[in-house]
């Protein structure tokens, strides 16, 4: 299984990015081996529609789980279509965020947790 974590940097000790659509990088990680790859998020440059594009990007990278801070309404719909479960409220570094998820401290988003364009503010 692969999980995607939104991140401000390319390493596991980088601060995770609480934004989804407008995050700097996606870390795609195997939680069993903790091996990961880092991917630029083209969505930082998009004028609009960054949330659904981010959902597509991590889906194409094979992620089934997302760990982030918040997701907006369009991103939520797209994640749902992709069959990706979004866990929100993560904080700290990428590895801390993964640990929070492993410890069951993050809640699965049942709906959008922020309004549209929250990542642009």
């Amino acid at each position: 299984m692969k999980i995607a974590i939104t991140s401000t940097g390319k390493e596991s000790d980088a601060q995770m990015d609480p934004r989804f659509g407008r995050c700097q990088y996606f870390i795609i990680l195997d939680p069993d081996t903790m091996k990961f790859t880092a991917h630029d998020n083209a969505g930082t440059m998009q004028r609009g529609g960054a949330g659904p594009m981010a959902a597509k990007a991590i889906s194409d990278l094979g992620a089934e789980i997302l760990i982030t801070g918040d997701v907006g309404p369009n991103a939520f719909d797209a994640l749902k279509a992709a069959g990706i479960k979004a866990y929100i409220g993560a904080s700290g570094t990428v590895s801390q965020a993964v640990q929070q998820w492993k410890d069951g401290k993050l809640s699965e988003a049942g709906t959008a947790s922020v309004a549209s364009h929250a990542g642009m503010r």
Binding site: P52, S59, N74, A78, A82
Partner: protein, 280 residues
């Protein structure tokens, strides 16, 4: 042939609508088109009920899920990310869609048809020799430009057309000005007026449209606008003074040319001067 004059400004509240309405009332055979579709208020000066004429629709895609193979060609085409194909689903986000119709053309399965999505309305009124049009963008809609485009569809080329622009320098303003023969930039003699006038001048110069400036509420600030216009070779077409009589009429929603006929002559002269510049 009539002439199209756009009334614009960088700054809001400088008196665009005041100039547009009073100029229109001073001329004959005229159309006044209120292009400030987010905050239309030209009709308030006219004291007439507006008649709702038509909705403004964007044509947006409707995907036939039975035919769609989720090939992703439409999503790849869409520059506005209104369509996204993820796994076995193609999602449409209506508020991102500009209604270009490209997705319909590129769909290899003919799975996309186009349906109207209302984003605003067009209104009309006949006011003593003036053909008045205005548009209203629905609350929460991000794109004013299609409503302005639809408004301009009602332009009658045989008449003098006054286009009252929204403030600012972005797409709705450019849509309003884009095929005008002349632009009047309304400003006020303050640091704010001058700053935003400079931005508006940049836009008009970029579009290559002849223009001039009206300084409203002259006497309320200083001469910085006139000095700047002098240095830049911009013609100041008219100065409207900070005048209690004008302000009183404004506060009642009465166009001042109706009570101060000497201003009708001034606006007619202004129009004649513009005709000369444009070469008509």
């Amino acid at each position: 042939m009539g002439m199209k004059i756009a009334i614009a400004s960088g700054k809001g509240g400088t008196g665009k609508t005041t100039v547009a309405v009073n100029l229109a009332l001073s001329l004959g055979n005229v159309q006044l088109i209120d292009c400030d579709v987010e905050n239309p208020n030209g009709h308030l000066f006219l004291g007439k009920e507006l008649e709702e004429v038509e909705p403004v629709n964007l044509t947006v895609p409707l995907i036939d899920k039975a035919k769609c193979t989720n090939c992703g060609k439409c999503a790849e085409f869409c520059r506005y990310n209104a369509l996204v194909t993820i796994k076995q689903a193609t999602l449409f986000f209506p508020e991102m869609c500009h209604g270009c119709g490209g997705c319909t053309l590129v769909c290899p399965e003919n799975a996309i048809s186009e349906v109207p999505r209302p984003i605003g309305k067009i209104y009309h009124a006949d006011v003593a020799g003036m053909d008045f049009w205005s548009g209203l963008l629905n609350i929460g809609e991000p794109m004013a430009t299609p409503v302005i485009k639809r408004l301009k569809y009602h332009v009658a080329a045989s008449r003098t057309v006054i286009l009252d622009s929204p403030p600012g320098t972005a797409c709705p303003v450019i849509e309003t000005m884009s095929d005008a023969d002349f632009v009047i930039l309304v400003t006020e003699p303050t640091p704010f007026g001058l700053h935003d006038l400079k931005l508006a001048v940049e836009v008009v110069r970029l579009l290559g449209i002849p223009f001039g400036v009206i300084v409203n509420r002259m006497g309320s600030g200083d001469d910085r606008v006139q000095r700047h216009c002098g240095e830049e070779g911009i013609e100041v077409l008219m100065e409207i003074p900070q005048d209690q009589g004008i302000a009183r009429l404004y506060s009642k929603g009465t166009p001042f040319v109706q009570e101060m006929p000497e201003w009708k002559a001034k606006f007619r002269d202004l129009h004649a001067g513009i005709m000369k510049v444009v070469g008509q």
